[in-house]
């Protein structure tokens, strides 16, 4: 028999006494009877109990002032008294908000949990001033002034004269146009977007690319520059040699050209900056975190790294490659190629080229992990923010693998909250 006291702060403001006794024990299952009596009455108790995950199976009887639980613990428990003391404490703690985050399984300790919570609350208070009441869920009515005339955009529909949202997101208004900007959704392409994709099929005269869109994108052989850099008609030989340009599973950077009549997407790669991406990592994040900018190609000189923020949420972090315009440089190189000796030196150079120095590889991983942390926290991803996170990690002297831990995640959240509060103050 053991008695423990817990302070239920949320959702009830009540003090509870937990008394427990152990009646039956098998090798793996132990049955406990817990009685919780509290100054507060009512069925609100059950909410609390069901939030507590280790109570896998519980038989609950609720009486006006007491809640009786029979718990079957599936873990073998060595020291039952101690485990119950913990249970009692945890009831008190876990009845506060449980932090749940998408795709993140971090074991935060109590202080980290509180710090993260405080940082996130600060972020909430910062942005709530700018656009409160702009969020809608499916089937919410969007308030509009019907007299002005309304153009219904994406994510809206009309129902009995009202404009109704069909997706969850944020209302955006541009003059008469009203649309809902979705948050977590697949990529919606716009002409001119720079995207990163993966080749999934080599078809006649075209490659099919997975780009996180509702269909596969198409890159025609005719809409990309040939490796020899000459503008000419694509012949049957070119078509046979398509695999020498891109193979299946290659990662490619390209630009959205236009939509075809049947709604599928055409890409183009008519510049040297587009094309195959090698020696790096591709990360897939939610597309809403990447904003459309003038610059999507970034060269981080201090790290020797290329960073491509694809509008479709695919991000490339790779070793820096000099883009040379073959059209211009071709001619002086050609006569050298004919020389046999230089060809050997070229091949040696090529061998050196395929080797990425350890430091660069570590930098790639560091930047990639910074992006991973940012995307699990759901912060928008820009060059400045990434750089800040990378600097933070190196100034703290953290190893690359430590960047995915709980402590660093909390640090990033705090830093971001600080940064945003500074920038809003400056605006004022």
């Amino acid at each position: 028999m053991f008695t423990s006291e817990a302070d239920f702060r949320y959702p009830l403001k009540a003090k509870a006494t937990i008394s427990a006794s152990h009646t039956e024990s098998k090798s793996f299952y132990s049955r406990f009877h817990i009685t919780i009596s509290a100054s507060h009455t009512g069925a609100g108790f059950s909410i609390l109990i069901f939030r507590y995950p280790s109570l896998l199976k519980a038989e609950v009887v609720i009486s006006p002032t007491q809640l009786h639980l029979t718990v079957i613990h599936t873990k073998r428990i060595r020291d039952r008294t101690d485990s119950f003391r913990k249970l009692g404490q945890n009831f008190g703690q876990d009845s506060n908000t449980i932090l749940e985050m998408r795709g993140m399984e971090l074991s935060l300790n109590q202080t980290q949990k509180l710090r993260l919570q405080r940082a996130l609350e600060l972020l909430e208070s910062l942005s709530s001033g700018t656009n409160s009441n702009a969020s809608v869920t499916v089937a919410d009515t969007i308030p509009v002034n019907q007299e002005d005339g309304v153009l219904k955009g994406h994510g809206t529909t009309e129902l009995e004269g009202e404009v109704v949202a069909t997706v969850c997101g944020v209302i955006e208004r541009v003059n008469k146009l009203v649309y809902v900007r979705t948050l977590r959704a697949r990529y919606k392409p716009e002409v001119g977007d720079i995207i990163v994709g993966r080749v999934i099929e080599v078809a006649p005269k075209r490659w099919r690319l997975e780009i996180n869109f509702s269909q596969d994108a198409v890159l025609m052989l005719s809409s990309m520059n040939l490796p020899d850099g000459i503008q000419r008609r694509r012949t049957a030989v070119d078509e046979l040699n398509m695999r020498s340009i891109f193979e299946e599973n290659d990662v490619i950077c390209a630009e959205v050209r236009d939509f075809m009549r049947d709604g599928s997407l055409q890409l183009q790669a008519r510049s040297q900056k587009y094309g195959k991406l090698e020696r790096g990592q591709m990360l897939a994040i939610s597309p809403y975190l990447v904003k459309r900018r003038k610059q999507h190609f970034h060269h981080l000189e201090s790290y020797g790294i290329d960073l491509i923020l694809g509008c479709n949420g695919f991000i490339w972090v790779g070793e820096h490659v000099e883009t040379k315009d073959i059209m211009v440089e071709d001619e002086p190189i050609k006569p050298e190629l004919q020389n046999n000796k230089s060809q050997i030196s070229m091949s040696l150079e090529e061998q050196e080229q395929t080797y990425t120095p350890l430091e660069t590889r570590q930098n790639i991983c560091r930047i990639a992990n910074a992006i991973r942390v940012l995307s699990t926290l759901g912060f928008s991803i820009t060059l400045d923010v990434i750089q800040e996170v990378v600097d933070l990690s190196s100034s703290k002297g953290l190893d690359i693998h430590e960047m995915l831990g709980a402590e660093f995640c909390v640090l990033v959240a705090e830093r971001e909250a600080e940064r945003r509060s500074l920038s809003t103050r400056r605006k004022r």
């Binding site: 609950v60 869920t137 499916v138 509702s214 269909q215």
Partner: protein, 241 residues
């Protein structure tokens, strides 16, 4: 057996018109486009949505709308006795079909031609009302995936035992052999998309039971809406400018 005590309490301590505790959580499956865990008391269901994506079998591709596919499974450990069930038995095929048709009625499929949406639902703990829990979980997952829908579909079951209409039956009440009415509604449009019952009930009683189930659906809809709103606000706040 006595399912409603003279004091008006059910076996698990609920009143006849009381629902079980609801709990929902978005983003349980990190690789999916949308996912959710939905709990009604001890019934626990996980749903994952993939898509809209390229149609896997070209012959199934529809040129004017999206193809919706649904797969319902029960985990081996979900029921009291651990049984290895063959995949694609009659029950799960039927429920897959029911969920698919219900979801298809609310998804605006014409906006995503030549693509497919896969909905996977798995029962983690079965304690009655898995059908409705699956539909609720699928709705949440679809909304999380940002798929345009006419309205949220919510579902709830109701039964009739000891000459009382009971809301949200649990396993013991469900296996009592009485009528079990599962209703799915579109709360905003006020339309019924799903109505199932495999027993006989007099007309006037049926109306009562269905009314009760509809009320349950509306309660679920309010809860789902809250969860979605909270999630949307959180995402937007975190994203910042």
């Amino acid at each position: 057996m006595e399912y409603v005590s003279p004091e008006g309490l059910r076996l698990d301590g609920r009143r006849p018109m009381e629902m079980r505790q609801l709990r929902a959580e978005l983003g349980a499956v990190s690789r999916a486009d949308g996912s959710a865990v939905f709990e009604m008391g001890n019934t626990k269901v996980i749903a994952a949505v993939y898509g809209p994506r390229e149609v896997q079998q070209r012959s199934q591709q529809l040129n004017d709308k999206a193809l919706i596919r649904c797969e319902y499974t029960m985990a081996n450990f979900s029921t009291g006795d651990r049984m290895r069930k063959p995949k694609g038995d009659r029950r799960s095929t039927e429920i897959s079909l029911v969920i698919r048709q219900t979801m298809e009625a609310c998804i605006l499929t014409h906006l995503m031609p030549r693509s497919q949406i896969d909905i996977f639902v798995q029962v983690l703990q079965a304690d009655g009302g898995t059908r409705s829990a699956c539909i609720n979980a699928a709705t949440l997952a679809l909304a999380d995936a940002g798929i345009p829908m006419r309205d949220l579909v919510t579902s709830c079951s109701a039964g009739y035992l000891n000459s009382t209409a009971l809301l949200d039956l649990n396993y013991v009440e469900d296996s009592a052999g009485g009528p079990d009415v599962t209703v799915g509604i579109l709360p905003k449009l006020d339309k019924v998309t799903l109505l199932q019952m495999d027993a006989k009930l007099p007309m006037d009683i049926f109306e009562n039971v269905m009314q009760l189930a509809t009320e349950g659906c509306k309660a679920v809809a309010n809860y789902i809406r809250e969860i979605l709103m909270e999630n949307t606000k959180q995402l937007e706040n975190r994203r910042g400018i």
